[in-house]
Symmetry: C2
């Protein structure tokens, strides 16, 4: 027979999946809005960010209830703690999708042809978010590792787009510079979304193994001067 | 004799002032870290963001307690609602200061000479945050308006720096492009901090007058294609 903790944990997982879906939709819709100049859709993304913020608060409340009422230990405790950290990253993903949408509403993006890798990055990061949450729900270490590896490709795409746009400006297209810079901003936000999805995957690893390599990895990256 | 609501409101104001100070310190320290290449200080800013997040949660709890226990109406109700909205903007300011600090740790900023207007923008936005919170505490409409006007100067500086860096790249300095772009990112985050301080000032106006022009102003800006 299943106990109360397990049932509450299932409810937590359902809520996390829902919050992950909201993030995925926000990323996809924000980027589509940018690529196709859909201002109304950009406004929807900005409004939907409140829903993501609310989801964070609801899940946080459930986690605190679980911690206080059930006093979980060992793996159960790690799962709840990991969820508490994951939602902070998901909330930031919502913020960044909202930041992308806002670029369309305030900037001069309209005329320049968008770099086609922006769509590729959006797909990749949306998938990372979905898979990182799925990895938590299934406690699937392989899937968590897959998300961490996928971030390298997102970082590579960011640097590629940045370099292409720099080259474009350097070739004497300074008058379209502001539009081009706005495109770099969009990819920068997508690159940050990838970082947050990686953080989520690292918390999944923690919930499964008790080890959290994130802090060490950040330290190594800095040492390497990346 | 002062009643309980007034005393709790004083406590709320003190906590808001403290959260505003944390934001001001974060902006100043993050930008100084970037301008002077202080990596340790950048790490401190990132860690201190958790303190800002905690301040948001504490103030939110106090506001909800005030709403439920005291059932305030009219201006009292507006003051509590405004505080609830203000802390969301202050939390985002903390995030953005953290984003600035992170640029130093992950990017190639070291070699390029920073644009001197970055320091000017940081001072201006830190002042906007402090003054917007002070405007709330004193219910000072003039000071709130001053913050809103100051944002125009921050926006102007952002566009100036962006153009200078575009011109610099367009003049054949493509090989230093990535460093130059990172500087635009820093100013973009500062520009967003200015937006959030403006939001705070608009909530101050709401708490004093009952009118909130923010939504209308955003609408007008979009119509004007800014």
């Amino acid at each position: 027979m299943r106990n109360k903790f397990d049932m509450q944990l299932d409810s937590l997982k359902e809520q996390l999946i829902h919050m992950g879906e909201l993030c995925e939709i926000a990323i996809t819709k924000a980027t589509e809005a940018i690529l196709e100049g859909k201002e109304e859709q950009a406004r929807e993304v900005i409004l939907a960010d409140e829903e993501i913020d609310q989801a964070e608060k609801d899940i946080e409340r459930l986690c605190l209830k679980l911690l206080l009422q059930q006093q979980p230990v060992a793996k159960d405790l790690r799962q709840i703690s990991a969820a508490l950290k994951m939602i902070t990253d998901m909330e930031r993903i919502g913020d960044q999708a909202s930041d992308i949408a806002e670029i369309l509403l305030t900037a001069k993006l309209g005329k320049a042809k968008p770099n086609e890798d922006i769509g590729v990055m959006a797909q990749a990061t949306a998938k990372m978010v979905t898979e990182s949450v799925q990895a938590y729900v299934d406690q699937n270490m392989m899937l968590a590792k897959k998300v961490m590896l996928a971030d390298d490709e997102v970082d590579r795409l960011f640097e590629k787009v940045r370099q292409e746009i720099i080259d474009y400006i350097a070739k004497g297209n300074g008058e379209e510079g502001a539009e081009a810079i706005d495109q770099i901003m969009v990819t920068k936000y997508l690159e940050r979304i990838g970082d947050h999805a990686t953080n989520i995957a690292e918390w999944v690893e923690f919930s499964i193994t008790g080890n959290h390599h994130g802090a060490q990895a950040i330290h190594d990256r800095e040492k390497a001067g990346e």
